[in-house]
């Protein structure tokens, strides 16, 4: 039974990682920026929701407001920094260092404005409430993690295949040079992509924060796990990145039976290294590649 519970917890974690993974991939495949600062937006979103809920604002509104603010932050990052660098034809290395700097800015702003210490959503009473599903117990935040994750994934799939803006984004992602000629206005598209991804990444941040706790600097680990999932999945699609994250979450949790939790990241990373060192070509049909 413990095993089933571990699997279920793993699935929940996988859902949270999955949303980070798909939003990261969305930015990466469209704008070409290895957006490390995504982890900073993740942190910011969680803390904003925490702060607003502490002020007595209804929870749903807290999440919505946090998403709106993060969308604006994401758009501002694109407009104010990435766009400038891309227009100047800065190398990927320069973009990456700028993104790393942004990550430091966001994380430490959060630490200074709120607190550098571990904190919990004390004002939300229902966060500890447990629901029973046969032998499996899940807290309400865990259930919400799963629901919002699936909503985010299918919402994003619907958006990118069925709406005009979504299709325009995909067109830009597939060929930037062509997009510039055909007046798809790639730079405008990038702003949308960053705003959408930044808004969505607030969801897992809030629900992980609700279920467990938050700390300004731990999001790098979440992003790293998500990126590893994206690469291991290697499928380059929203669905692929999400499925790989689910597998990743389950494996990471199942391993807890034999390996203590504090070694789990070391194990994940070692497996990843072995994975890419001896990658069987069949498993990795496509490689992770930035948009060019």
């Amino acid at each position: 039974m413990l095993f089933l519970q571990l699997i279920a917890d793993g699935l929940v974690n996988g859902c949270a990682i999955g949303v980070v993974a798909i939003t990261f991939t969305y930015v990466y495949t469209t704008t070409g920026v290895f957006h490390v600062a995504h982890a900073g937006v993740f942190t910011l979103g969680g803390y904003l929701a925490w702060y607003l809920s502490k002020e007595g604002i209804p929870f749903v509104l807290c999440v919505a407001l946090a998403m709106v603010i993060c969308a604006a932050v994401g758009a501002a990052i694109e407009k104010g920094i990435y766009e400038k660098l891309l227009k100047r034809q800065a190398t990927p290395l320069v973009q990456l260092i700028a993104s790393l700097g942004l990550l430091a800015v966001l994380q430490n702003l959060v630490a200074i404005l709120f607190t550098p210490n571990v904190l919990q959503f004390e004002s939300i009473a229902w966060r500890m409430k447990v629901l029973h599903f046969g032998p499996i117990d899940l807290t309400i935040p865990q259930v919400l993690t799963v629901f919002t994750a699936f909503a985010a994934v299918y919402g994003l799939i619907y958006f990118s295949t069925k709406t005009n803006l979504g299709r325009r984004i995909r067109a830009v992602a597939s060929n930037r040079t062509l997009a510039e000629i055909t007046r798809l206005k790639p730079f405008e598209v990038y702003v949308y992509v960053m705003a959408i991804s930044s808004a969505l990444v607030v969801l897992p941040s809030v629900f992980i924060g609700l279920d467990q706790a938050m700390q300004p600097y731990s999001s790098v680990l979440v992003l790293l796990t998500a990126v590893i999932a994206v690469i291991s999945g290697g499928l380059g699609s929203i669905r692929g990145a999400f499925s790989a994250s689910l597998v990743m979450g389950i494996v990471q949790n199942a391993v807890l039976i034999v390996v203590p939790g504090r070694w789990s990241i070391a194990l994940t990373f070692t497996l990843f290294i072995v994975f890419i060192l001896f990658r069987p070509t069949g498993l990795f049909a496509t490689k992770i590649r930035r948009a060019s």
Binding site: V36, I97, I112, I288
Partner: protein, 286 residues
């Protein structure tokens, strides 16, 4: 006086680590956010070896060799592939190294770290005191700089530049690109190991927080401010950046905010330099 000497010594140690970063970021153009991890491995390896009774030169050599090998082993998988794998391996190495420093308590002392690391003595002269240690660190930086200079002007150094500028053309010229990148990766590891060992000697105490990701970002900031791909840049950067915390202490800030404020400042510096001065103060285009 001691305060000033400590600043000089630390800046010199970090200049060696900045040179190590320079080999990767400046010379072959790959991102690195794990220099602190490698430096930490050097520091721990040296401390553990020396406290197990291994003489100073051997312990130093051990630390350097271990770091060179580690850097090669961790960069090999990502260097073989095209794409941004090295970003992941670099972040991963840093996070895993911190986890190992914290959790492998039997060897690393866990969060309490290792204290009382002895300084080497040469014929009655001990390097405990900054007044003496400064000679050791200056000498080490001198050697490291000479090594950098020699390497860059050799035919190997020129080939590395060529690889950064156009890898495909270098392959078409028959160069063994992977082997050359691994070679410089080993040198970079060795430099970080040397820096780490010197750090352990000077502080005589090490713990995981000295080699966290923030420190890696700090080292990258030093290189970015000084400027990539020049000797002057790697030496200038640490002297400037290490002065920042000193300036922050003048502002009478609440103590629990000093850490985040410092990191915030480094973040702002990184972004600003990338936007307006990617060459740094004394470097070249990256």
């Amino acid at each position: 006086m001691n305060f000033f000497l400590s600043y000089i010594i630390l800046a010199e140690i970090f200049a060696i680590v900045a040179l190590s970063t320079n080999f990767l970021v400046g010379v072959i153009g790959i991102f690195s956010v794990s220099q602190a991890a490698i430096m930490g491995v050097g520091a721990y390896a040296y401390a553990i070896a020396v406290m197990a009774g291994i003489p100073f030169p051997l312990a130093l050599l051990l630390a350097i060799t271990l770091c060179a090998l580690l850097n090669v082993a961790t960069s090999l998988p990502s260097l073989r592939l095209e794409g941004d794998y090295f970003v992941v391996t670099s972040f991963g190495l840093q996070i895993v190294a911190t986890a190992v420093f914290m959790n492998w308590s039997a060897v690393t002392g866990g969060t309490s770290g290792i204290a009382g690391i002895p300084a080497p003595r040469f014929s009655g002269l001990s390097f405990d005191e900054p007044e003496n240690f400064v000679f050791l660190s200056t000498f080490a930086l001198g050697l490291a700089s000479a090594g950098y200079w020699l390497l860059m002007r050799s035919s190997y150094g020129r080939t590395l530049h060529a690889i950064r500028l156009d890898e495909l053309a270098a392959v078409a010229a028959g160069r063994h690109v992977l082997q050359m990148k691994l070679g410089i990766s080993a040198v970079s590891g060795a430099y970080a190991g040397l820096g780490g060992a010197l750090y352990a000697i000077f502080m005589s105490f090490i713990d995981p927080s000295s080699f966290e990701i923030h420190v890696s970002v700090l080292i990258l900031t030093m290189l970015v401010v000084g400027g990539a791909r020049t000797l002057a840049g790697s030496i200038l950067g640490p002297f400037i950046i290490l002065a920042v915390p000193q300036m922050l202490t003048l502002l009478a800030l609440p103590p629990h905010l000093i850490g985040p404020l410092r990191s915030l400042a480094f973040g702002v510096i990184l972004v600003s330099f990338m936007l307006w001065l990617p060459k740094g103060l004394a470097g070249r285009k990256i």
